[in-house]
């Protein structure tokens, strides 16, 4: 085995282990930490695939923003150290069904990949710098992905405004009375 294959196997094992422990562990913060291990494993797989941009974005967004948000929410809302609620609720079968459907969908997609039967790794045809530039141009190209990109921006903006509206304190009557 080449060093790259050994590294791949180790990372893949860590990713899967983290993913399993996310759903198995009782403590919510521990679950979030295992999620971070799993996400970091995916980022490392991106590095092995020479997709540095995706790897770094994975760390910056999923670990740096989403995982921190989860931990912060848990810290604010639950009792600090002791937290062992029930692990499942009534909808566990729906979640299992959705996970199964996504997994089978992914398998179907993977089976159609032309590189599936390849026995050795082939270097990228283009330089990775050019790939990053192409991704940037694709996001603002009218013929390619500008519409999904803008729709996502509007969605995020709507979420931002919505959260401000929700968090805004209601105009309290006491303040209105105090004003002349």
């Amino acid at each position: 085995m080449t060093p790259a294959q050994i590294v791949f196997l180790l990372i893949a094992a860590a990713t899967l282990l983290g993913a399993v422990l996310v759903v198995v562990s009782h403590n919510l913060v521990h679950a979030a930490l295992w999620l971070i291990l799993s996400l970091a494993g995916v980022a490392a797989l991106f590095v092995l695939l020479e997709a540095a941009l995706l790897a770094v974005v994975q760390v910056a967004i999923y670990i740096g923003a989403i995982a921190i948000l989860i931990i912060f929410a848990v810290m604010l809302t639950r009792r600090v150290m002791a937290d062992s609620g029930p692990q499942t609720n009534r909808n566990w079968w729906a979640a299992a069904l959705a996970a199964l459907m996504i997994f089978s969908g992914l398998i179907v997609v993977f089976m159609q990949l032309p590189a599936l039967g390849a026995t050795q790794t082939v270097p990228l045809a283009v330089e990775s710098e050019a790939l990053v530039e192409d991704l940037g141009r694709a996001l603002v190209d009218v013929n390619r992905f500008v519409v999904p990109f803008e729709v996502a921006s509007v969605l995020l903006l709507a979420a931002l405004i919505g959260s401000i509206v929700v968090a805004r304190p209601p105009d309290s009557p006491a303040e209105g009375e105090a004003a002349p």
Partner: protein
């Protein structure tokens, strides 16, 4: 002498393959060795930074500072370190043991890992990835995670309060920092640190973009969590905050990470805005680049300490308002102004400098006008005659 580190790595590669190792495995081992050497050097240099910072602080406060151990007290940090190492590692009862031990490691990791993408001299860089700017952001957020976990796992109310403050401060100040990191990316057309340094060959970005440079400096000060932004370890309010339960070497790790980060701020500002290792004669003798790089970084580092000593700690509401109502809008405006101005620029250096400087002037004037209007409203509110407080009405319920 033009490429000493390349020569060393080629020599080692030849040596390892000469011993019968596969070339792939030898290259892998060399990368590991390089990473270990880089991390160790960065951590060892912290001994000097801590000593230097304490001496500078003492000078600013008209004291002598450490002066007993070794010449000029230079061995003081070594003595402190020996003391910290020999102390027992205590995990408080009820703490989450694994997370408690993991947290300082994450913090140190994030402080050291940034150095992988800092170019010290031509061809003297840990790794030249083309997304280095994003990498800096990503690694910084892991440090935030470590601080939050330290506060949460200590089973201590003060530590948890410190972690809340850390989350409020560090996550918020990431926003203007990311926005200002976009400006060197815009101006150089690349996210790699080597390309950013090369793009400053004609004109450092400090001259092209003084306002974003200042924004970057301020938000990195806040990311570092030191005065005037030292709310997450305010000794007088929350008993040092997130690291209150840590002792011995685990506390030492937080300590080292903070002091190393102070110099990292200098190194990043140098790379992104001050032209990195560029300087006269650097193409002829690349080793001079190390001198220029560390000279500029030390200058910024000195400013960090100077600010730390000169300004009092701000209140938490001021800290948040300063970020969300001042730095973030200014950062957004700067990105828009620079995106437009960079499109308008003629190819020659002088025209580009002038147009970008005009953009900066526009930003500065706009900011000052906004501040002036805000201050006028505040002054008018303060000048109004004080009304008698209305009687407390209890709503009938």
């Amino acid at each position: 002498m033009s490429d000493p580190f390349g020569q060393i790595s080629r020599f080692l590669l030849d040596l390892l393959t000469g011993w019968g190792l596969e070339p792939g495995l030898a290259a892998f081992l060399l990368k590991l060795l390089g990473a270990a050497a880089m991390g160790t050097l960065a951590l060892l240099s912290t001994f000097l930074f801590i000593w230097g910072e304490r001496k500078l602080l003492a000078r600013i406060q008209i004291r002598l500072g450490p002066n007993r151990t070794g010449p000029f007290g230079i061995l003081q940090t070594v003595a402190d370190f020996a003391k910290l190492v020999t102390k027992e590692l205590i995990v408080p009862s009820g703490a989450d043991r694994v997370v408690f031990v993991l947290a300082p490691i994450l913090v140190v990791m994030s402080a050291v890992a940034v150095w992988a993408v800092v170019p010290f001299a031509p061809r003297f860089i840990g790794t030249d990835i083309n997304v280095a700017v994003l990498y800096i952001v990503a690694i910084g957020s892991i440090g935030i995670l470590g601080i939050m976990l330290a506060g949460w796992s200590s089973n201590n109310k003060f530590a948890l309060l410190g972690a809340f403050r850390a989350a409020a401060q560090l996550v918020s100040y990431e926003v203007p920092m990311v926005l200002t990191l976009l400006i060197p990316t815009l101006l150089s057309g690349s996210m790699g640190t080597v390309a950013i340094v090369e793009a400053q060959r004609q004109m450092p970005f400090l001259i092209l973009a003084p306002v974003p440079a200042l924004l970057f400096f301020i938000s990195s000060l806040a990311e570092n969590g030191r005065a005037p932004f030292d709310l997450l370890e305010a000794e007088s309010e929350i008993a040092t905050g997130f690291n209150v339960e840590y002792g011995g070497l685990m506390f030492g790790m937080f300590f080292v990470a903070e002091f190393l980060h102070a110099f990292t701020v200098g190194a990043l500002t140098t790379t992104l805005f001050l032209g990195g290792w560029l300087g006269p004669g650097v193409d002829r003798y690349p080793i001079l680049g190390v001198v220029y790089f560390f000279g500029k970084s030390l200058l910024v580092w000195f400013t960090v300490i100077w600010v730390r000593m000169s300004l009092p700690r701000i209140r938490i509401d001021q800290m948040l308002a300063f970020n969300w109502k001042f730095l973030t809008p200014l950062g957004l405006a700067a990105v828009i102004v620079f995106a437009v101005a960079d499109k308008l620029t003629p190819p020659d250096v002088l025209g580009r400098t002038l147009i970008l400087l005009a953009g900066n002037g526009l930003l500065a004037v706009g900011t000052l006008a906004a501040l002036w209007g805000y201050a006028r409203i505040k002054r008018r509110a303060a000048a109004l005659p004080v009304r008698s407080t209305p009687p407390l009405r209890v709503s009938p319920s």
